[in-house]
């Protein structure tokens, strides 16, 4: 049974490029998302920055290195540090990616895709349940942008994703840009993907820009959100009836103001829905 998750409004990813502007102007923004690993350090500037941010804004944690789909045991040292950070940030939920990235002691520092098989489904859903129980806060997995498909796959990405979330009784961090990128790379209908989502389990939406590389789209987070992604966002947001939304921008940074304006497009759209 999914618990009710608060809608925090519109947020953007907290990035060092904006620190100066944020602390100089304390902009009126609903919330910030942080990359957990950037703050899972022993001391220094990252923790001092976090402390200052927490004085003014709600913070939600989003991670990149949990490696939920890796075939080796969960990294309990990592999980303990992650939980320690949740006590500092008081994040209302925590998310990471539906991927793997660690094998035989090596970290690949990427969001590597899984085949959509029963074996992977069982592995990930069991581990996701353990992670959520350990963290003692709602835990969500984010769908990936992907550039390969596996002949081993036994189901669609959306069936795989939905089944994991429902079986583990966790949540979805739905990245609509990732759905669009993968739909173009692999030739499926992104609206069919959205229709298959269990709406009550979506606790946050990610928006971002991508880059057209000619033969494929690359999830670069360095560009404005394209019209097709806004269209997908409109479609799913209407069905959910309000969910925390976040704009990711990770390279070729704009000023904080310009980034916030891009995020606010979502806010304007949400208001128009309520009319």
């Amino acid at each position: 049974m999914a618990v009710a998750i608060k809608n925090l409004g519109i947020g953007i990813g907290l990035r060092p490029a904006h620190y100066e502007e944020i602390f100089a102007t304390l902009p009126k923004i609903d919330w910030f998302e942080i990359i957990s690993e950037n703050f899972m350090v022993e001391g220094g500037r990252p923790l001092a920055i976090l402390e200052k941010i927490l004085e003014h804004y709600p913070v939600v944690q989003h991670g990149v290195n949990l490696c939920i789909g890796s075939t080796e045991p969960l990294d309990w040292d990592y999980l303990k540090r992650l939980k320690k950070l949740t006590k500092i940030t008081k994040t209302p939920w925590l998310s990471d990616h539906l991927c793997w990235g660690r094998l035989a002691g090596a970290h690949y520092h990427d969001l590597l895709p899984l085949p959509y098989t029963q074996e992977a489904l069982t592995l990930v859903s069991e581990r996701a349940r353990i992670v959520q129980d350990f963290l003692e806060i709602p835990f969500a997995l984010e769908n990936l942008s992907s550039y390969v498909t596996f002949k081993e796959s036994e189901m669609s990405e959306w069936d795989f994703y939905r089944e994991i979330v429902e079986r583990a009784e966790i949540y979805m961090m739905l990245d609509v840009n990732n759905i669009y990128v993968s739909s173009q790379n692999h030739g499926f209908n992104p609206f069919e993907y959205l229709e298959a989502m269990p709406k009550e389990r979506i606790l946050q939406i990610h928006l971002a820009g991508h880059t057209n590389q000619g033969s494929y789209l690359l999830d670069t987070h360095d560009n404005y959100v394209c019209d097709q992604v806004w269209e997908l966002y409109a479609h799913i947001y209407q069905q959910i009836g309000g969910v925390s939304t976040l704009l990711e921008w990770d390279e070729n940074y704009l000023s904080f103001d310009a980034t916030w304006k891009e995020a606010l497009k979502a806010k304007q759209f949400q208001k128009s829905l309520c009319v």
């Binding site: 220094g44 290195n65 990294d75 002691g105 592995l123």
Partner: protein, 241 residues
């Protein structure tokens, strides 16, 4: 193919040398893997990167190092902590000593940025008999040349600047230095006198002020240790573990 076998095959493809092409799709991951790690290693070793330039740094240092030492930690800020040791074993060019010492300095500065600041002791009269340690972010260096100043000047320019311009002049040593994180969380270095270096060395392994000063007085009776401790405590350089 079982999931584990598939991940092993995928990981092997990622770790193939950068110049080896992979199938379309997999090639995206292959390139991202290498570009991300090379960029991180350049960021973590800004001094060494400037000594070589991007292209040579990647070819001569980063790629061979990463081939044999893929990241073993989830935090990218820890990437390259074993690079100084690897250089010692594998880098044999005429500038070997400069490169190795630069890598050690870069690694120390990186670690100083993120490692712990432990609670600082309250300085009362009894403190002189309490065992003290340097904060985990403090690192002492003795160099044959003024490497810390050289690094500071080198980092004022971007990597590509040195493709067409000479390096800053290296001043002769010996130079005693302390790398630490100041109260504003900036990583800085401070030049030390021989006596200051010897005194602070006592607190790397833990010592009480009384004993450390007693050792120092034998060779440096004129040392103004009161003034030094006043400054060092203001910088919160000590902890009691």
């Amino acid at each position: 193919m079982r999931l584990q076998e598939l991940q092993v095959a995928f990981a092997e493809a990622l770790r193939e040398p950068l110049e080896k092409r992979q199938k379309e799709g997999l090639e995206v991951y292959h390139q991202q893997y290498w570009w991300r790690l090379l960029k991180t290693l350049q960021d973590n070793f800004p001094m060494v990167t400037r000594l070589f330039g991007y292209k040579s740094f990647n070819r001569e240092i980063a790629e061979p190092y990463l081939m044999h030492h893929p990241p073993s930690h989830w935090a990218l800020c820890q990437l390259g902590q074993t690079l100084p040791q690897w250089l010692q074993e594998h880098y044999q060019q005429s500038d070997r000593e400069l490169v190795i010492q630069s890598a050690k300095l870069d690694a120390a500065c990186g670690k100083t940025f993120w490692c712990a600041q432990k609670p600082t002791p309250i300085f009362t009269e009894e403190i002189t008999q309490t065992k003290l340690w340097l904060q985990p972010h403090c690192k002492l260096f003795l160099h044959k040349i003024d490497l810390c100043l050289f690094r500071e000047q080198l980092l004022k320019q971007e990597v590509d600047y040195y493709n067409r311009n000479p390096f800053p002049k290296i001043e002769p040593g010996p130079c005693y230095s302390l790398i630490f994180r100041n109260p504003k969380n900036a990583v800085v270095f401070e030049r030390l006198s021989t006596a200051q270096y010897l005194l602070l060395s006592h607190f790397q392994k833990g010592d009480c002020i009384e004993e450390a000063c007693a050792h120092l007085e034998q060779n440096y009776p004129e040392a103004d240790v009161g003034l030094w401790f006043h400054k060092w405590t203001r910088l919160k350089l000590f902890c009691t573990h």
